[in-house]
């Protein structure tokens, strides 16, 4: 298997590229066929899928449990908003800045985090998640609760009158997500990417084999943060502006939960994870309106359904649904 992989590598990448482009094309064609609501929801799916990717990279692939993805998304979001609104740069540059700035931030964070393990890392990232967004209140340039506008502008005129703003959002978020996921998948399939897995499965052996575990963990943090930053930028694009409340602690938990539900160890399920995050609350809502009931009942039911599903997933498929289909680990 190993020898064959080495020979296959260049073909693999090209094949992958082809698949991604094909998938992208499919999505864009699909975008023409559906209504604004579906495009809007689809944009969120793409955004969340990217967020879940960052979680999988960090936790699934390099074994670091972080509860701070929401903070990193916030960093990316503010970086992007400031680039577009204050510096006046093109939205594409803005999104790139989201990823870059968050990545640098993650690098620094990773250097600190490398020394921390398990609950200590969890606690630190938790504290980061609750405190970072509130910094927006401290510095006026960050706009406090009202936040900063994140405006990617109207769709280009050449697309015509019928091209709605939501379709434009969908194009941008789907394409951005696709490109980023493509890079990550390539990275993970490369020789370098395999070292991730080695470290996760057996850090001692990996270290003995000469892999610099510490450096790897830091890199993982940086890359994962970059992905999260881009996801944050896309998220605030969808709500037309960034503010601290866009990144509550519960967002970190949601991403982590979705990552566990759809498989923490591989990127195959990220789209499904994004779908889950978007669809489940909707399903819960429509179920509730159909059943009806007392006021307290209808208010608490959606939360109940989401939590129950999460628990079921953890109990029955802790390693992701993919493992139910495979015969061996």
């Amino acid at each position: 298997m190993k020898k064959a992989d080495k020979v296959r590598k260049p073909i693999t990448t090209r094949k992958r590229l082809f698949l991604f482009v094909l998938f992208g094309w499919l999505l864009l064609i699909l975008g023409d066929r559906v209504g604004d609501l579906e495009l809007y929801q689809g944009s969120f799916v793409a955004t969340y899928a990217l967020g879940i990717t960052s979680v999988i990279l960090l936790t699934g692939y390099s074994g670091q449990l972080s509860l701070g993805q929401s903070a990193l998304m916030a960093v990316g979001a503010y970086a992007g908003a400031l680039s577009i609104f204050n510096a006046g740069w093109h939205p594409v540059i803005g999104l790139i800045m989201s990823a870059l700035v968050a990545g640098v931030f993650g690098l620094v964070l990773g250097l600190v985090a490398a020394r921390l393990s398990g609950p200590y890392l969890a606690g630190t990232t938790l504290a980061l998640a609750i405190s970072l967004p509130t910094l927006a209140n401290q510095f006026p340039i960050l706009g406090a609760e009202e936040g900063i506008v994140f405006d990617v502008g109207l769709p280009p005129a050449r697309f015509g009158e019928e091209f709605s703003q939501y379709k434009w959002f969908f194009w941008i978020s789907a394409l951005a997500a696709l490109i980023m996921v493509f890079f990550i998948v390539n990275l993970l399939s490369s020789r370098y990417g395999r070292t991730f897995k080695a470290v996760r499965d057996n850090p001692v052996a990996a270290q003995l084999a000469g892999i610099n575990v510490g450096r790897l963990k830091v890199n993982a943090f940086a890359i994962s943060s970059g992905v999260a930053g881009l996801s944050g930028g896309l998220l605030v694009m969808l709500i037309s502006g960034v503010s601290p409340s866009a990144f509550p602690l519960s967002l970190s938990f949601s991403l982590l939960g979705a990552a566990v539900v759809t498989g923490l160890y591989s990127l195959k399920g990220v789209i499904l994870g994004g779908l889950v995050l978007v669809a489940i609350p909707e399903i819960a809502d429509s179920l509730v309106s159909r059943i009806g009931g007392s006021e307290s009942f209808t208010t608490v039911l959606p939360g109940f359904i989401v939590s129950a599903l999460l628990i079921l997933a953890v109990v029955f498929t802790p390693n992701g649904p993919g493992h139910l289909l495979k015969k061996h680990h």
Binding site: T59, G60, G63, Q64, L65, V112, R115, L116, S117, G118, P119, Y120, A122, G123, T124, L126, A127, L128, I130, S131, L132, T134, L135, N137, Q138, R200, D201, L249, F253, L256, G257, V260, L264, Y265, S296, F297, T299, V300, L301, G303, F304, V306, S307, A308, L309, L310, I311, V314, V315, F316, P318, N319
Partner: protein, 311 residues
């Protein structure tokens, strides 16, 4: 009850300082209550139990119902602590144990319980909302919440604040005694650190772990009943406290109850002083900065006996 101090005439600056110190003590005591519960679960089962916020609030609602029926805070307190123990044990036996059985290796070992407890938190809060409704309730404190009078000025410290401090100290002492001086305590510690070896020694690891969750649940029940009278009772009432309690526990090192209380006091003082003297907007950033500073110096927390043993 008036205590005599030999103090000069107080000016505004002095008042501010004294108030800051006193309110820090009170805040720290509250954080300590939750930090103790978190450390208990961690020490006995190596799990971060986010559902603690739900368990504690649930037991407080039970206590609230008891107060409605009997009018006595103290009976309610006992009931809350006992029900906390029962709920904790039930959760471990019927919820956490199946999860541990299914998840054996990889980073998922650390994560699955976290996610599971998060899901559990949501379920508990939904159940509470359904049974008791989602509107605010409140519980009256059992002792006076009026501040003490010192030299004619009323300070920000009351019988109730004192009560909380006393309970925290007593709880910490009792639990430390339990862990350090009793056979059960030894069994609890052994099962957490080396389950295989403990089993070989004849310890029923699973039952011992359930006991650990029961104790933690009882502690959470105490925390809820002491915390809520100063605030309002609603399903999400203890979420913030859980986060701050967790941070406090990490600062203290997750190893000892003394560490938990110390960490909580440090956190309380830091937050109160920075919000009083620098800016009220620094409430959360202070928590983060304190935590980071501590962990940079000692990655396993302030009072951890040795370097982390490797979970």
């Amino acid at each position: 009850m008036i205590r005599q101090f030999a103090l000069p005439i107080w000016g505004s600056k002095m008042t501010q300082f004294i108030t800051a110190v006193l309110t820090s003590l009170s805040s720290g005591a509250i954080y300590a209550l939750m930090a103790i519960a978190i450390v208990l679960v961690w020490r006995s089962t190596r799990v971060i139990n986010f559902a603690q916020a739900g368990q504690a609030v649930l037991t407080t609602y039970i206590g609230y119902t008891v107060i409605q029926r009997t009018g006595s805070f103290w009976i309610a307190l006992v009931v809350a602590v006992l029900s906390g123990a029962v709920i904790g044990a039930v959760i471990d036996r019927f919820f956490m144990r199946p999860i541990f059985k299914r998840v054996k290796s990889g980073p998922i070992v650390m994560i699955a319980p976290v996610v599971a407890t998060l899901g559990l938190l949501g379920i508990i809060q939904a159940l509470i909302g359904f049974i008791w409704g989602i509107t605010n309730q409140s519980i009256e404190a059992p002792v006076s919440t009026g501040g003490y009078k010192i030299m004619g000025t009323v300070i920000a410290f009351s019988n109730y604040n004192l009560l909380v401090l006393v309970f925290v100290a007593v709880a910490m002492l009792l639990l430390t005694l339990l862990f350090q001086k009793t056979n059960i305590g030894l069994a609890l510690r052994a099962s957490a650190y080396s389950p295989e070896i403990a089993k070989l020694s004849g310890i029923k690891v699973d039952s011992v772990r359930t006991l650990g969750w029961a104790i933690a649940g009882a502690s959470g029940g105490l925390a809820g009943m002491l915390y809520i009278p100063g605030y309002f009772l609603y399903p999400n009432a203890m979420d913030l406290l859980l986060v701050l309690g967790f941070i406090a526990a990490v600062i203290g090192g997750l190893e000892s109850l003394f560490g938990a209380v110390a960490g909580a006091m440090i956190l309380g003082f830091a937050i109160i002083f920075s919000t009083t003297y620098i800016s009220p907007k620094l409430f959360f950033p202070t928590a983060f900065i304190v935590l980071i500073l501590v962990l940079l110096v000692k990655p396993s927390g302030l009072f951890a006996a040795k370097k982390s043993r490797g979970a």
